[in-house]
């Protein structure tokens, strides 16, 4: 074997294992993060964490029931605002659009998806908080809802496009008009994928902190109705982690574990079960 060939072969082996190392490093980050959170936050998780209000500083116990409920309320609002617009917009792009409008909408959706979440927070502040003159659950839900729209829209569109042509033609052949074809054949056929997109979008905004800082703000107590500031898991984690008390830090780890568990479980369930075995997968 010539020297040059040996050099080439060893470079080959070296670089290939280097790329393998890169991949290993990247994926091990997830296991490390998860493990570290379980180790630090696991011991502070108890039943009262899910059912009690935060205890005053220095007193043991207490929970984050208000933050958990707040996050759920914000997610509900986000879904109510984001899903209908995203879903119907996606139907428009896939089924009705011509050329220019869909291109524009698609491009704008991708750009809106990339807008930093804190800027979305400013938008919600200017549009909802300023006229109302106070922070509210409503404003936070609005901000999260805006963030849900582009994802749901693009995802709905792509799954609708994957529905085979033969199904549409079958519906037409049976005499259905277009909206009937869409509502009874195309949407059900793509429903699994669309649901996937909705759940992933909600899982993503569930962990958003920045747009809530000056919209939903925070609250040490329960937040009745929709018109008052509310606590939420991500904001509590931020406040507690940057606060000066050791109790707070412990609670932040526990809350971090709950939030990460919520987000990862949704992602894993959605990706592993909902997308598998779809009858209409692209081949």
């Amino acid at each position: 074997m010539s020297v040059r060939l040996m050099w080439r072969k060893s470079l080959n082996a070296f670089m290939l294992s280097l790329t393998g190392l890169c991949a290993l490093l990247t994926v091990s980050a997830l296991f490390f993060i998860l493990g570290y959170l379980v180790w630090n936050g696991g011991k502070d998780l108890s039943w009262s964490f899910f059912t009690h209000l935060p205890a005053p500083v220095g007193e043991p116990g207490g929970g984050m029931a208000n933050a958990i409920l707040g996050t759920l309320k914000l997610l509900l609002l986000a879904a109510l605002i984001g899903v209908p617009i995203g879903l119907l917009g996606g139907v428009y792009l896939a089924e009705f659009g011509g050329r220019t409008v869909p291109f524009l909408v698609r491009y704008t959706a991708d750009l809106l998806n990339g807008v930093p979440s804190i800027v979305i927070g400013i938008f919600a502040y200017a549009l909802v908080v300023m006229p109302m003159h106070h922070f509210s659950t409503l404003a936070g839900g609005f901000a999260l809802g805006i963030m849900v729209i582009p994802t749901v829209l693009r995802n709905t569109e792509s799954f609708l496009r994957d529905v085979p042509r033969a199904l549409r033609e079958g519906a037409f052949a049976l005499g259905a008009n277009k909206w009937k074809m869409i509502a009874t054949v195309v949407l059900p056929a793509a429903s699994r994928g669309i649901l996937t997109g909705v759940l992933l979008a909600l899982a993503r905004v569930a962990g958003e902190t920045a747009p809530l800082l000056f919209t939903a703000f925070g609250n040490r107590y329960w937040s009745p109705g929709w018109n008052q500031p509310t606590s939420s898991l991500p904001v509590v984690i931020y406040t507690y982690a940057t606060g000066p008390y050791e109790d707070w830090h412990q609670q932040a780890w526990a809350a971090g574990l709950v939030l990460l568990g919520l987000v990862l479980l949704t992602n894993i369930m959605v990706r592993a079960f909902l997308t598998r075995g779809s009858a209409y997968e692209r081949t």
Binding site: K9, L30, V119, L213, F217, H249, L259
Partner: protein, 329 residues
Amino acid sequence: MATTPNAATPAELGWSPQALLRRLRGADEIAHLITFIAAATLLLITVLLVFQLWTHSAESRAKFGWSFFVTKTWDPVAGDFGALPFIYGTLVTSAVALVIAVPLGVGAAIFLAELAPPKLSSSLTFVSDLLAAVPSVIYGLLGVFLLVPVMRTTIQPALKSTLGFLPLFKGPAYGIGFLTAGIVLAIMVVPFVLSVSREVLLAVPRDQREAALALGATKWESTWKVVVPAARIGIFGSVFLALARALGETMAVTMVVGNNPIISGSLFSPGYSIAAVLANEFSEATGNLYLSALIELGLVLFLLTFVLNGLARLLILVTTARGSGVLPS
């Protein structure tokens, strides 16, 4: 999608009220209109977003003009605002992030696209997608309690003793600062570089790899000299995308960057970023000028990411013909 028999294109839709009413007789047209309104809402939201940022920053724009971008003072009490330290901090932390994340992400993408068996590749991609889904406040949490102490006691002193002759690694090791924020950002954007680069690498035709191998190239040579150059533009796209993410990332940076508007050549120095100052000061801003200056910072951030994202998507569109479904959400 191919046009179906009774699909109405916008060109056919008349815009006068009579023409619109005529078109609305059938259920199809009503469905068309409703879905069109939903799609148009998205455009409206985006326009409204720009409009709000623009009008609410009017006071600051009028008072400071272009000097806003080159002034170093940030004094809410005196009402004197300059964005330079924040813009500087945003750029420096993002640059550090890219220097670490791009080689790591592209390397991992090469492994997943070219070398790993399909089963392993798809499960590792799954893990990377999960990593992209981890909320940024979690990264901040780990940053504050894990990375900052390690930086202060181990990494920064080590860098100082080996590379301390560079101005980049001078000054006391606080733990917090540009370098720490950049490292946290790097971990956060690697999944984005990875997943987009992997897609564009996979989009390179198989023939090209086989042709290179048939000519006697090693696997690495075929990858590095044929496949990667062919996917080059898309990989640049993934870098821009990661940059846009890094610029706008708020929580993780806020928690570890030090929140001190300092412009320093040393990466050990505490600093500030646009997103971080918004997170810290927005809800407590008193006075219209203060708020307006903060909103102008938001406008700057918006424009930066808007341009970068547009560029990224254009580049990715060029390399992968379909250009959709590529981006992680």
